[in-house]
């Protein structure tokens, strides 16, 4: 099982270590540092590194490497999933997960880690149970604690840990009973030079924020459940009911949780809401290149595209760019060669464009590679797959909750090749 955990920042300092079994010397991380040095970028450090006596499994998030040390044959996905869970928990506890924040809350971090694993076996990883065991720090509580001498460790047995619904504690009470669901879809797409779709898929999630008194039993039904053929559920969802009736039936955890994530694959036609017209050309003879891109809406079902940001990694030969945007602001970093254009909203009547020239290193031949354009955007009130919630019902409790459903479509890894 998981032996130890080291947190390492991008400059290669170990700033926290935690051992669940015997202590493993931090020199084991030297193997990690070697790999880190070999990899050109932090993202490229391989997630599984063998050493003579241990294996190092790592994830890289928020500019921190979370390196787990294992000694026996343990499913690596188990370890990596757990590490991501650690990051999520920190984020949940402290709002952000960063080196200074972790250092500031080191004792809480240590206590949380101690609760999450016992001898390397996961113990409590649900954040609402953890929060019952160890209360997250708040300014108010710190003040109160200093005055009253009480602590931020709960002295109750976390009730949820024993009940049949381990994700929900008993005795929840709210004055306003509300249940909100966000259907969020991300489009991952690769668009080729000519504008046709090479690959496109939708990763969707339904995130919920449920604040309901007692033990409510909810059912959620869809207008078109057939879209959902590849789904992963929160443990609370009754799988049998879904299999037979295509209805989500569940006792919700208290607070924020991810009810469902789904995947609409390349097999179904995925609507592409934007297009990019581009003309990026280098000439062999001159040291100037032409650059022109225009972004426009495609299949948006009448909704507005907003929050558009265009980024592109330009070839190394590009020295500088002189560009004029028709709207928004753009930057080009001559060191990293990263072009970024914050477009904002797309007005279909007046399409945003960015035009100008690139100056190339004199005397060199034209670059071999073509820049790829990455696109970010948001569309409110639209689930691009067409998924629609039909109705939400509550059983088991008498009161009438307030219900709300929001839809949003975002760009995931949306790339246009030029």
């Amino acid at each position: 099982m998981i032996h130890s955990l080291f947190l390492i920042n991008s400059s290669g300092d170990i700033f926290l270590e935690k051992h669940w079994k015997s202590v493993v010397s931090r020199s084991v991380c030297d193997y990690f540092f070697e790999a880190q040095e070999r990899a050109t970028e932090a993202e490229n450090v391989p997630p599984v590194i063998p050493t003579p006596h241990h294996y190092l499994l790592s994830v890289y998030r928020h500019k921190i490497f979370f390196v787990a040390v294992i000694q026996t044959e343990v499913p690596p996905l188990f370890v990596i999933e757990f590490l991501h869970r650690v990051v999520d928990t920190f984020q949940d506890y402290f709002g952000v997960c960063s080196e200074p924040v972790i250092k500031d809350n080191v004792v809480v971090v240590y206590e949380v880690l101690e609760e999450m694993l016992d001898n390397g076996f996961p113990l409590a990883t649900e954040s609402n149970i953890l929060k019952e065991l160890i209360k997250p720090p708040t300014i108010l509580r710190t003040v109160v604690n200093t005055i009253t001498g009480s602590t931020n460790v709960g002295d109750q047995l976390p009730t949820g840990q024993l009940s049949v619904v381990p994700w929900r504690r008993t005795g929840v009470k709210y004055t306003n009973n509300e249940a909100y669901f966000d259907v969020i879809e991300e489009i991952d797409a690769i668009i080729d030079k000519s504008g046709s779709t090479v690959a496109a898929e939708i990763q969707g999630v339904i995130d919920a924020c449920v604040k309901l008194t007692g033990m409510p039993d909810l059912t959620l039904s869809f207008m078109n459940p057939r879209l959902l053929d590849d789904v992963s559920f929160h443990p609370c969802v009754r799988f049998k009911r879904w299999e037979s009736e295509r209805i989500l039936s569940f006792i919700p955890p208290d607070g924020n949780f991810r009810l469902l994530s789904y995947h609409v694959s390349a097999q179904n036609l995925v609507a592409i809401p934007v297009y990019v017209k581009h003309n990026i050309s280098f000439r062999d003879s001159s040291s100037l290149g032409r650059f022109e891109i225009t972004v426009g809406p495609k299949q948006t079902m009448g909704k507005t595209i907003e929050g558009v940001i265009v980024t592109s990694q330009m070839p190394r030969g590009v020295l500088n760019m002189s560009l004029t945007p028709s709207q928004g602001a753009h930057t080009f970093d001559p060191v990293t060669k990263m072009l970024s254009w914050d477009v904002g909203k797309i007005n279909p009547q007046k399409l945003p464009s960015l035009k100008g020239t690139m100056s190339l290193q004199a005397g060199t031949s034209k670059p071999d590679e073509n820049p790829t354009i990455n696109l970010q955007f948001k569309i409110q009130q639209l689930a691009i797959s067409g998924l629609k919630v039909n109705r939400l019902d509550m059983y088991g409790e008498k009161y009438k909750p307030f219900k709300g459903i929001k839809y949003m479509t975002k760009a995931g890894k949306f790339q246009v090749r030029t």
Partner: protein
Amino acid sequence: MTDSKYFTTTKKGEIFELKAELNSDKKEKKKEAVKKVIASMTVGKDVSALFPDVVNCMQTDNLELKKLVYLYLMNYAKSQPDMAIMAVNTFVKDCEDPNPLIRALAVRTMGCIRVDKITEYLCEPLRKCLKDEDPYVRKTAAVCVAKLHDINAQLVEDQGFLDTLKDLISDSNPMVVANAVAALSEIAESHPSSNLLDLNPQSINKLLTALNECTEWGQIFILDCLANYTPKDDREAQSICERVTPRLSHANSAVVLSAVKVLMKFMEMLSKDLDYYGTLLKKLAPPLVTLLSAEPELQYVALRNINLIVQKRPEILKHEMKVFFVKYNDPIYVKLEKLDIMIRLASQANIAQVLAELKEYATEVDVDFVRKAVRAIGRCAIKVEQSAERCVSTLLDLIQTKVNYVVQEAIVVIKDIFRKYPNKYESVIATLCENLDSLDEPEARAAMIWIVGEYAERIDNADELLESFLEGFHDESTQVQLQLLTAIVKLFLKKPTETQELVQQVLSLATQDSDNPDLRDRGYIYWRLLSTDPVAAKEVVLAEKPLISEETDLIEPTLLDELICYIGTLASVYHKPPSAFVEGGRGVVHKSLPPRTASSESTESPETAPAGAPPGEQPDVIPAQGDLLGDLLNLDLGPPVSGPPLTTSSVQMGAVDLLGGGLDSLIGDNNFGAPPAAAVPARVGAPIGSGLSDLFDLTSGVGTLSGSYVAPKAVWLPAMKAKGLEISGTFTRQVGSISMDLQLTNKALQVMTDFAIQFNRNSFGLAPAAPLQVHAPLSPNQTVEISLPLNTVGSVMKMEPLNNLQVAVKNNIDVFYFSTLYPLHVLFVEDGKMDRQMFLATWKDIPNENEAQFQIRDCPLNAETASSKLQSSNIFTIAKRNVEGQDMLYQSLKLTNGIWVLAELRIQPGNPSFTDLELSLKCRAPEVSQHVYQAYETILKN
């Protein structure tokens, strides 16, 4: 206020200050001090000096303070064992606390303190906690058993904790079940032989019930445990699969992958005609695709596993090519894995898309990735014949880009395409030649030289081109030098008139100026071939090369099957069986896929049931022809020159030792003119032919001409028992005939005459083929040597042991009986070489129960010597593979009664500490295995 204040006092007197604060009367001050201590500890500072002071803070009602002290204890108890004892009383008291949280915390912490003295006190509280009324305490205690086992395994066994733990598998609470399974699995890992997780249909049912209700982590443990179970028939397998399938929709990717493992394994037992089989296949694809939208680290592990899955069952993901398309900002380790899987999934249906993608990748920035993409185009050409032309033109486009490393990779793969489709794309040679100057990597240079040599007759200035390479001959790498040597010899054989000077130049460079034995030996071979028999040289060097075929990097089928059982583990990430890398001397149980067994009610006929799919249906597991060739050439040296003339010529040469290593390297390289494969099976029953390798290796050469290994004579019948007649003897096999070599000694005082011999019925029907002929009477103290020819047409009766032979010898004095054991290898016939495809099919066909494993200890041989030794005793190596530094020899032999025995011999060369060979034998008559093993041992050790 944040915890960072605990770091601020890093002055010299820090420890002293903390000590004072820890002993403060004020609760609040104490707690702050402990927090400071913990903070220092987390950043790796040594605060062990404060041990007694911190332990003093332990007796408190404040839960947080207690927890903090426990944290400290866990870290430092080991270094202060005597002090740690002070804490025991509090622990024991806490284990009785009315609050289950405190009870659990105490037992949990105690288990983490790795001090023997404390462990002793742990037993009683632990026993109570294992039976606690509160499931939270029970589940914590279950894990504690695993901790204790790690510290003191003997204690756990003596105290009977293992049985209590086993009982917890039937606990009413699913979390307790899950933790018990996890603890038992961990303990079992250090005792691979023990039967801790004894799974039967009842316990399986309990696990499946708990599976639905326990936490995600518990589900992983349970699924991994289920995967070790072998259902009794296909019905049970199906019902388990049905209950595991819902786990594929779990949000935790580790749960999904563990479920995939169970399904992949149990699927093996289901009949392909079953509707359910098809349903299951369909259900497997979406979760695997979903794994690819997770974080990159998870994707990486998933991709490594998918790589195995598509090799085992390509049909699952055949329509999902697009999800493996590489995204621009994927980390490099994900990109490379995706590329690999794309090639595996490439087929005629999707090749156009794949090629377009690969071409796109070839213009990316990352050099490693670009190289692999170019290689991938070549692999597509070889794999999907219809696409070859498009691939070649894509490669030509890429060569036009003049990007140096792209050009070099392209040339390397084009060479392979030429090998696969000879005489089809030679029109591109001109384009390739244009790029000659830009090649600076050995592999690309060697490939280009090979092309020039191979097609010398079509390239007008081939001699000039090769000559230009020759100028810097000494600076080239060995790979290039060898290739250049061969290419020039090819050129010479094709255009002898104008290149004589060139060939002499290269031969002298190779033989006289080089220190490299491979190069020198190859040079000598060519030299001699050319000077003694140019026709033969032509036949050898310019022989038609067998085609290379697709996918040379498929994982060997038995390894693949084993790895499928390890889906989701480190083994699957490294594509190595755990035995290859798991640390320490722990034996690792080899896992294998369950054979398909139909339930008793099944209507299937018994012939088809155990055999699995007919071999024809699984072309995917038949390894590439390409390496087959390499192996054949390595082992069966059957050049078109016949045996005896070669013997004489080699003797004439005088410098025979030069040829020792050269031949291997010469024939082992399948890039160059090797003898035609057709010549290989031609050597039937000719011991001289089989001894060819020995001939060159003259140290043992002449001696082994006789064929099988012959044991020294042993006394079979002592004179005491036979009124003065002593018989000693041995068995030999020579040129297909068996004989019994006897030595009769007369130790009596009278003359012996009228000898006759008779055999009792025996297992293999051995019988004298001729009467025992002792020509003259045997006078006292005289010894006579007789070779008695045997045949195997006598009557058969199974003996115990199998190779027991009862003999009666008669002379003028009396009849004497004795029995002897004959070594089985005298029964190995000369045509015991199985066709490779046949071998694969047979290997699969023979049920796994018939497989027997043996170890041949202390036998420091390498693969070559072992296989030549074995071959002289008619054990034929069919294929050789190098798997992670181990040589695997696949061998077959046939007994006189037609029984085939298939063998896999595992050798670890280059590892002097590992001189044991592992032998596994498969035979339809498993009783012979033991004796075959003995034969192996005898042959190899002599």
